[in-house]
Symmetry: C2
Subunit: 171 residues, 2 copies
């Protein structure tokens, strides 16, 4: 049996994971990691598992050298990539063939707090807007059901839209 | 006058931005963007401004091809990179010389909701833990003051630790 019948998704691997978790609930508990090293100025690199380090920087106007996307842009990318996985996974489960998925994200951010001009303010995104284009022959109501399933189960979506305890400790 | 007196940070550019915002508060209102395109399976690429697209994938066990860090790892990287900028910026303002900054991040996530096994649950990180190592000759109390300033003003830190409205619209 082939493992990829639709959308090039390895749905057998997903099914095996679901089965393993149904047999042993603890297998759903996962821990994810990243290591960041500062490189001078506002440049840094983040390393995940054995993948090549990914660069980070800030635009010139913010004091950086503009060599890479900055951290808030990276967060938007993470959200978009997470939604892409969600559309691919849920479409495959629902039997929907996708030809293309495009996701445009934008977020509004007030720099006052980051720059120390408003001590008690919100340094983060005030709101994030995401526009999704799905290219598929499936009926509109199926695509809307798919969309609802994805938005309701997105790990990065939930991390951003809900308050997550972040404990930052100085060694 | 040199623009980089400490930590290779272009503190003059940061000062110019602060001054511009103090003169015209609206200049603090920024919008950041990313565009994501699905590439089949659980692979996608995110493009920010004119930078090269950055790949995303999922591990084999989750049904991916394991060609890149996954979206929740990317979110941790974004958080670490954001904190690195914060340490560099605030240390420079405080006159602290940093030799090195290392930031290790980990987050716990229960896969039940993402996999559709717990419809009303939290698909996102339950908690995130960050360990920061600062290599500097500055006294401990200065480094702790720096640390507090960074944690209190981190754009990605606040985005993750506070609830942010995320509106995802299907075109």
């Amino acid at each position: 049996m082939t493992t990829r019948i639709l959308n090039d998704v390895n749905i057998v691997a997903v099914g095996d994971l679901v089965e393993a978790i149904q047999e042993e609930s603890e297998k759903a508990q996962t821990v994810w990691r990243s290591s960041v090293e500062w490189k001078g100025g506002f440049r840094s690199v983040a390393t995940v598992r054995d993948f090549a380090p990914v660069q980070s920087d800030e635009p010139f106007g913010l004091g950086g050298d503009d060599t890479a996307a900055n951290p808030v842009e990276q967060l938007l990318s993470a959200l978009g990539n997470c939604l892409a996985v969600g559309y691919a996974a849920n479409a495959t489960v629902l039997g929907i063939e996708l030809r293309d998925v495009k996701i445009d994200l934008e977020g509004s951010l007030d720099l006052h707090t980051f720059l120390g001009l408003n001590a008690e303010g919100n340094a983060g995104f005030e709101s994030i807007r995401v526009a999704v284009s799905l290219d598929s022959d499936a009926p509109r109501e199926q695509l809307e059901a798919l969309h609802q399933a994805v938005v309701g189960t997105s790990p990065v979506g939930h991390t951003v839209s809900r308050p997550v305890p972040v404990a930052v400790e100085l060694a």
